[in-house]
């Protein structure tokens, strides 16, 4: 089984190109995969790429690739008219020859460079070197007029998507996502800063839930049941759920610790939660040698579901603005209590990982089937052992409960987050992607 190590995979992809190019036909999905792998690296090395921001970029990348492919000789049907205000892709010139790999290369280069324009010097250095390498490979033995036409078309599709993306409310991230000013909601039930990082004294992206959504109508579409009413009464449901967090931390098994760390997916240190599910999908698509249509279909639906999940989840987070376990437990139960994981700097309810994992699982179940067993090697390069799952739904449930083991969520945020994710994911699975 292949180790999911990005740089190794990139190298493998290049060696594949070398062979394929001689035959004059680089499979476009190889181009797509290569750019996605680079994007997974850039996500962990670009300062604004918190999970909501990552989900947005994955969505635009995948939609750009999907639309570029759907415009040609494929089984895919455009998503224009199905996603919120997505314009039609530019039309190809009738009777003219195009090369799908060259189109994909131009599309992905343009959109990735745009979405990650704020990455550091090494990211730019890598993008330049990477692009030149792929460009050389895909254009070998392709007629120059076809290359030029294909590149022009690929860029035009990407530019259409970029223009659309600029108006969604999430295009500009300032101060690494933390507003310079913010008024905390008064009262013990509400979120307060949970660490002493100065930048994080205001919560992450408080307006993200107002962003334009993709497949679902808007961020408030999949409303959550409210969390248990805040209380410090020992007989209250709220207290009991907080006590459960304490008790679980006290008795964590090695397996539970491993689960918490496996799904931790910290921003800036990993591919983030949406990147984790992209990684799962890519591992499976690679093992199945999936063609471009299947690849584009799966990654578009998945990315759309996750981006919508973060919008819906954030809508709920700032609607309820609930206090984190670390704050409540220290104040009410044990001043010295510490969770296993670092508490993310934004309100508790619902659990983002739960919402987006359930949405992702719904999409992948649709694509690969119920009870699809798989091994996830996403964290191997960070020293995490692969984990085996019997189904996508089972993986999503484990991702959700990992936040309870980690001490950063109460049970209600997980269970209701999973339910919200299933509601949101259904909009992605309902998309008509094939002609």
């Amino acid at each position: 089984m292949k180790i999911f190590k990005s740089f190794i995979a990139v190298a493998l992809a290049f060696s594949f190109f070398a062979t394929a190019a001689v035959a004059g036909a680089t499979p476009p999905q190889n181009v797509f995969f290569s750019w996605y792998r680079l994007a997974l690296e850039l996500v962990r090395h670009t300062a604004t790429y918190t999970p909501p921001v990552a989900s947005r970029s994955f969505a635009y990348m995948s939609i750009a690739a999907f639309e570029a492919t759907a415009s040609g000789p494929s089984t895919l049907q455009s998503l224009s008219g199905q996603l919120q205000s997505l314009p039609p892709a530019p039309k190809r010139q009738a009777g003219k020859t195009y090369n799908e790999a060259v189109i994909l290369q131009a599309t992905m280069q343009t959109i990735v460079e745009n979405l990650f324009s704020n990455t550091g010097p090494t990211g730019h250095h890598a993008m330049d070197a990477f692009s030149k390498k792929i460009e050389t490979e895909v254009t070998q033995e392709v007629k120059s007029d076809v290359v030029k036409r294909s590149e022009t078309y690929g860029r035009s599709v990407a530019n259409t998507i970029v223009k659309w993306a600029m108006k969604d409310g999430g295009a500009v991230i300032q101060n690494m996502g933390f507003p310079a000013t913010y008024t905390l909601t008064k009262g013990p039930a509400h979120w307060v800063p949970t660490n002493t990082i100065d930048l994080q004294q205001n919560p992450l992206l408080p307006n993200w839930g107002k962003n334009r959504s993709f497949a679902m109508p808007n961020g408030a579409t999949c409303q959550l049941a409210p969390p248990p009413e805040y209380s410090e009464d020992k007989n209250s449901e709220f207290y009991k759920q907080a006590l459960e967090v304490v008790e679980i931390k006290k008795n964590l098994t090695p397996e539970q610790k491993a689960i918490a760390k496996f799904w931790s997916d910290d921003a800036m240190l990993t591919v983030t939660p949406p990147g984790h599910w992209i990684s799962i999908a890519m591992q499976i698509l690679e093992r199945q040698n999936a063609d471009m249509d299947k690849t584009a279909d799966v990654l578009a639906r998945l990315s759309i579901a996750e981006a919508d999940a973060f919008i819906g989840c954030w809508n709920g987070k700032f609607q309820y603005d609930l206090v984190r376990p670390i704050t409540y437990i220290k104040r009410v139960m044990d001043p010295k209590w510490e969770p296993l994981l670092n508490t993310p700097p934004f309100p508790e309810y619902p659990s983002g990982h739960s919402t987006q994992s359930a949405a992702a699982a719904l999409v992948l179940t649709q694509a690969f089937g119920e009870n699809f067993a798989f091994t996830d090697e996403t964290g191997t390069k960070d020293g995490l052992k692969p984990r085996n799952f019997k189904s996508f739904a089972g993986a999503a449930e484990e991702a959700g409960i990992s936040r309870l083991y980690g001490g950063i969520h109460y049970r209600a945020a997980i269970e209701n987050g999973l339910a919200q994710g299933r509601c949101i994911g259904a909009f992605a699975t309902a998309l008509k992607t094939r002609k």
Binding site: F7, N118, A126, T196, I197
Partner: protein, 522 residues
């Protein structure tokens, strides 16, 4: 001719106690008039580094300096400043004028009483033997030093117990050949241990996580310094900050969670240390992007540190002046008492990595004064040192031997800057130099203790840390008001010298087993 004019002036100056509102020192930039014209230049592989070494290479008691040049040749400047006067330097050919120099640290490697230098480079690192009168020659072959071929970015040195030759730790960055996917390509750091008055082949410090600063420091007062390594999380996978056991005769070993070490993952770029709270244990300031860290020992003897940056007001996560309020990027950091009030202050060099739009492009350096309550306030702008060039390495050093600390800062793709401390209302001071008879002559690994009444200020004498920059010369203490002052040295072998009375506003040589010797300008 130097003018010895200041001691009496300073004695009569308004002495400053540890007041709630610290006295803000004033600085005047004298880069041009001092004759400094040096730029640290270069693109991708020079995005980190750009350091300065300050040291006395001609025995006149004044700090000379070497400035890294990146793609350009490093520049050596002999200090010709008059005591207490305007700063003056003369560029000279010293043998140190090499290209691809990222960082530079002074260290008397062969203990001959003449300063040597370690040059961290893109490619081969080079040790330069001091020949006297500020001339140097390559000594890699003579000292069996394997300079390797890497992107070397950090340095620290110590004499291990019983050793007559130093151990050098050199931190390396990413594999510069990995252009397409450099992430996860951190190359091995090296430990150059002694072997028969030369260096043994370097030992790889595995795992290595792209070290941008290293420091041998006796964090637990055990008598055996450990190696702190600050790593850049931008490039490592599965990495974190590190603390190594470096015990003589034993292989290096990382401190573990079982020993109390807690994982910390930051864009580590520089280490500064000092005993801020007077408990005898050093605190560590770690530069990064956005929030910086100030760590204090939480539960000795466990190697557990807690972050007190927020409480002390030193997160310095964004510019405190100007209109560009995007998050900051910190590099060299150094604790010194710049207003001579007896409280350690903190200088932090700031500068965007390279056109990163999420971080301040005009990122002024910080000069953080410590108040009597232990909290810090940035006064860089009022003091006149809030440069918005893209700063990297630096040194806070008394260049004109007037007891007031001056400042030199290396800027990437721009001129280095030099400031003279022109304050006239600061407190008293003391400057000390250590001397051992044969081995480790500068007493690296010692602790200097300065006592005023019940208060004891402690300073660990280290070689390394900061960002690509090192100092070796007079060790400065601010004294505040004039009182009876005593000093002693706890030497690297743990032997504590006698307390000795000293006068304020003087220079002393503290030679082992001898009375403190007053140093006067020749």
């Amino acid at each position: 001719m130097r003018n010895f004019i200041l001691a009496s002036l300073l004695l009569s100056s308004a002495a400053v106690a540890a007041e709630p509102t610290p006295t803000i020192p004033t600085f005047a930039e004298e880069t041009k008039t001092a004759g400094i014209n040096s730029t640290y230049k270069g693109e991708w592989v020079y995005m980190v580094g750009g350091g300065v070494a300050t040291f006395d290479c001609n025995g006149d008691g004044f700090a000379d300096m070497l400035l890294s040049g990146g793609t350009k040749k490093a520049k050596f400047y002999r200090n010709t400043s008059p005591q207490g006067g305007k700063l003056k330097f003369k560029a000279e050919t010293s043998g140190l004028e090499l290209d691809k120099v990222i960082g530079t640290y002074p260290l008397d490697i062969d203990s001959d009483g003449i300063m040597d230098l370690v040059l961290l480079r893109i490619g081969e690192n080079i040790v330069m033997r001091g020949l006297g009168n500020c001339k140097f020659e390559r000594a890699n072959e003579a000292w069996a030093f394997d300079g390797g071929d890497a992107w070397s970015t950090s340095f620290a040195a110590i004499w291990e117990k019983g050793s007559t030759w130093p151990t050098l730790a050199i931190g390396n960055y990413i594999d510069r050949a990995q252009e397409i996917s450099p992430w996860g390509s951190c190359t091995d750091n090296w430990l150059h241990r002694p072997a028969n008055k030369k260096f043994a082949p370097p030992l790889a410090l595995k795992p290595s996580f792209c070290a941008l600063s290293m420091l041998f420091t006796d964090w637990n007062k055990s008598g055996t310094p450990s190696l702190r390594v600050s790593n850049d999380r931008e490039y490592y996978e599965g990495g974190q900050e590190q603390l190594w056991h470096i015990d003589a005769g034993r292989p290096p070993a990382l401190y573990t969670e079982a020993e109390g070490w807690k994982p910390l993952k930051i864009w580590g770029m520089g280490i500064a240390s000092t005993d801020l709270d007077g408990d005898g244990y050093p605190e560590y300031f770690l530069t990064s992007m956005a929030d910086h860290k100030l760590q204090t020992l939480a539960a000795a003897p466990a190697a557990t540190f807690k972050d007190i940056a927020f409480a002390k007001g030193v997160t310095v996560h964004r510019p405190t002046t100007g209109t560009d309020l995007r998050p900051s990027t910190g590099w060299h950091a150094q604790f010194e008492d710049v207003n001579n009030d007896g409280l350690q202050d903190l200088f932090v060099a700031k500068g965007n990595v390279d056109k990163m739009p999420d971080f301040a492009a005009k990122d002024p350096n910080n000069l953080l004064l410590q108040g009597a309550d232990g909290k810090f306030t940035d006064v860089a702008s009022q003091a006149g040192v809030a440069s918005t060039f893209t700063s990297r390495g630096a040194a806070v050093v008394d260049f004109n031997n007037d007891g007031l600390l001056d400042l030199v800062v290396v800027n990437r793709n721009d001129k280095a800057q030099l400031w003279r401390n022109t304050s006239t209302n600061l407190g008293h001071w003391l400057q000390l130099k250590l001397q051992q008879p044969t081995v480790n002559r500068d007493g690296i690994g010692s602790w200097i203790e300065v006592k005023q009444g019940d208060k004891i200020m402690r300073r660990e004498i280290t070689s390394g840390g900061g960002h690509a920059s090192g100092e070796n010369g007079w060790w400065h203490f601010g004294l505040g008001v004039s009182t009876q002052t005593q000093v002693r040295v706890v030497w690297p072998d743990g032997t504590a010298g006698e307390w000795q009375n000293v006068f304020d506003d003087k220079f002393y040589i503290l030679e082992r087993d001898k009375p403190a010797k007053l140093w006067l300008l020749k």
